[in-house]
């Protein structure tokens, strides 16, 4: 339990850092965001509106700590300010509209690619020294492919040339958004290609990690002993080798998830998929700083929660973390 408490404390600190960083970035970066805004929005917006925006943005002449308390207070009321690009929609509303799409897409694809990747990694480790070693260069290549480029290629092949999947969007706009089979199947259909992109671009990393770890664990005495016990190969591989080799994959989840989230955001842009990635892209294009920050905050918090979940899973996988009573 102590292990868990320590982790919770650490993630609470990280969450606080993300919140504070979010407050500091616009105030500490070279150049004042309001002037930056005026510069970039020149001619597109009335000066009076500009001033109002700056104020809604929370950048005032107050001392920094007063601004910080106001910021925290607003945050806890779920107030992230008003969007500039979609004026006057509250940022929180836009963020909450975009979040489910990304959670669904990234969540499902991450699970799929983790399962495929670790499974394949174990198989490659078991069969090392044979033909399977030749899969490594291909996997390395796949691991280095940029997500968005993979998306472009898939769109070119499957949507433009073959016409099997839609080019963009998350669902057929002619269907009512409701919990109907029609709508759900349309969401699944539109989501397939983005999901395939993310799985292809991310599973190779899990394979390579898992293969290396399993190969290392296969050299341990307890695996040799399992073999000497006359246990069937599958049992040795799953209960002894893979069961131990997966532990670093779970702890390394943070590093991997960050990359997947980053990659999926770009994938969303290609597919005009209405998740946080695409919304962030739009926010950047519109110089919509409040929206940018709101999105950054929600992505960070989501990743932090995912990491905490991974650590809880780890406690179940490794009895040694449960040792401290």
């Amino acid at each position: 339990m102590k292990y868990l408490l320590r982790k919770v404390a650490l993630y609470a600190f990280i969450a606080w850092s993300a919140i504070t960083l979010n407050f500091l970035i616009p105030r500490l970066m070279p150049g004042d965001p309001v002037t930056l805004l005026v510069e970039r929005m020149e001619g597109r917006i009335e000066p009076e509106a500009m001033a109002a925006i700056a104020e809604s943005y929370g950048i005032t002449d107050d001392p920094l700590h007063v601004q910080y308390w106001t910021y925290l207070g607003n945050l806890f009321q779920g107030d992230l300010g008003l969007s500039i690009g979609f004026h006057p929609t509250p940022v929180a509303e836009i963020v909450m509209g975009a979040l489910p799409w990304t959670l669904g897409l990234v969540g499902i694809t991450t699970i799929i690619s983790f399962v495929i990747g670790t499974g394949l990694g174990v198989v490659l480790a078991w069969r090392r020294g044979s033909w399977s070693d030749h899969a490594l260069p291909t996997l390395t290549f796949l691991n280095a492919v940029p997500y968005f480029w993979m998306a472009l290629i898939l769109v070119l092949v499957f949507s433009v040339n073959l016409g099997v999947f839609p080019v963009a969007g998350a669902y057929d706009v002619n269907i009512d958004r409701a919990w109907s089979w029609e709508f759900v199947s349309s969401v699944l259909y539109y989501g397939t290609l983005p999901a395939i992109t993310i799985v292809i671009a991310s599973f190779a990393g899990w394979v390579l990690n898992m293969r290396n770890m399993t190969v290392t664990v296969l050299g341990e005495d307890f695996v040799t002993l399992a073999e000497a016990k006359g246990l069937p190969k599958r049992m040795v591989l799953v209960n002894y080798a893979a069961r131990n080799a997966i532990l670093p994959s779970v702890t390394g989840f943070a590093l991997a998830l960050g990359a997947v989230v980053g990659g999926s955001m770009l994938t969303e842009v290609i597919f005009n998929y209405p998740g946080v990635g695409y919304t962030l892209f739009q926010a950047v294009q519109n110089h919509d700083f409040p929206l940018m920050q709101g999105l950054f905050l929600i992505i960070s918090l989501a990743v932090i929660v995912a990491n905490l979940l991974a650590d809880i899973v780890y406690i179940f996988l490794d009895p040694r973390t449960r040792a401290e009573a």
Partner: protein
Amino acid sequence: MRLRSWLPTSGKVLAGLVIVVVFALVAIVGPMVAQYGPRASGPEVLAPPSAAHWFGTTQTGQDVFAQFVYGARVSLAVGVFAGVVSQVVSIVVGVIGGYFRGLVDDGMYILTAVFLVMPGMPLLIVLTGYLPSRGMISVAVVIAITSWAGSARVLRAQTMSLRRRDFVEAARATGESRVRIIVSEIMPNALPLIASGFLFSVITGILSEAGLSFLGLGSLTSTSWGTMLYFAQNAQAFLIGAWWWFVPPGLAIAIIGAGLALINFGIDEYANPRLRTGKSRAKSAPAPLAAATAEEPHSPVPDQEPQIRPGGSQADPVIEVAGLTVDYDTAEGRVHAVKDVSLTVRRGELLGLAGESGSGKSTLTNTITRLLRPPAEVTGGSVTYHRRGTGAQQEPVDLLHLPADELRRFRWTELSIVFQSAMNALNPVMRISAQFDDVLRVHRPQMRPAARLELARTMLTRVGIDPERVSAYPHELSGGMKQRVAIAIALVCDPDVIVMDEPTTALDLLVQREVLDQVMALQEEFGFAIIFTTHDLSLLLEVSDTIAVMQQGRLVEYGAAMDVYTDPRHPYTQTLLRSLSDLGALV
């Protein structure tokens, strides 16, 4: 010839180096040979690849090849620059935190965790979103800021393990200063990690730059692979089928990324020999042999005839080794790890196998247990197991040619093993009960779960452990208890032979004595034969019925323990006994 010896042995590393060198050349030389400027527009718009435009042209008639080679320069430069900056940060944070520990380390650890968990790309987007002017340098610095944490964490762990190593303590005892210890003792050993971290950050840098530029957040005034993709995307190149515009930059990113990762493979394999594949794997000498090659030059070569006398038991043979030779293929050629060894293990006896490091005793037991791994190979001789038949009859089994499924049935029911270090021989994530249970489920399929658990508890009682500990995990037991558990597991199927490979070496004298007494009592009770290996000859002389002494792969002396002790005949055995007596072990 000189050049060949410089080339890396691993094909993967070689391929990676070739890729990286080719791209470096493209980046350096490409712009000099390109016929067009990267931004210069020509009359031909969206032309497919041709002799005039190797990679075709863009929507505004720019030459894609020119953009590609200029882009290579910018993309690689950003990647390398970001890699250098992020590696410097991670070395400072990781090595200093890992070496000094305490509050400094706590601070660095939390800082690393923050940057590790916070997703890089969104942070990157927000940070660049605020950059007043986006030159490639500031983009590279921002990339470095978001990407140093991963390798800092790895370096910290490595430094922490290195600073506990004896050579660091020895350097301190010599009087070496802290700075010198970090720079000259720790850093060189962390070099593979630093190199691999650097390559990884270069990949991250190239990918991040491409991603940022693709979103229009990079420096749009300079040409990189990312900005090429940005303009291609803006012009809907993939909808109009202008594949030549966006395929080259993306493919290039993937290939150079793969190239760098392949070099990283080589570094990983260098640092962790178990990962090696193919040729490079065969070249690494196996551990027992590596010890043998660097062995003390003083020991007399066993040119004398082996001294074979009757063993200390007259029972029926249970295992017979005849003329066994085991070879290893190494870079320097074939080496005999075991050479023409013949010996007999009799029912219910304790055969002590003595020998110093590199004597081949582990290779011999691994052959008997069929746990020999390539590149070790049996090139001659046989190992016969005499299976108990009905009555007095025995059925000979050729162990070396036992088919896989028969071998699996033979294992543990007729021959089981106790390893030297029980800490590593028990699966750390399984309860003790489960490690009994899987054996029984496989070898005693008719047993019910409750009976299996009951048997596990009984076996624990037999070796003097509270049966309640059956639900414990290995880390909850002391070293001596783990070794007892390992012995209990070895006994659970009532085998005829147990191979004990240095079973008490890792234990304290008092614990060793308890475990030994327990083993002797169990042997009395169950009547199994033991093949007991250790380098501790005085221990063997005390407990064995028969002793076999090995030196450099050969059997030099075999006989009843007391005969060997009171009247050693081979000069090597005599040397061993004399050393023991000089060391005060036989007083």
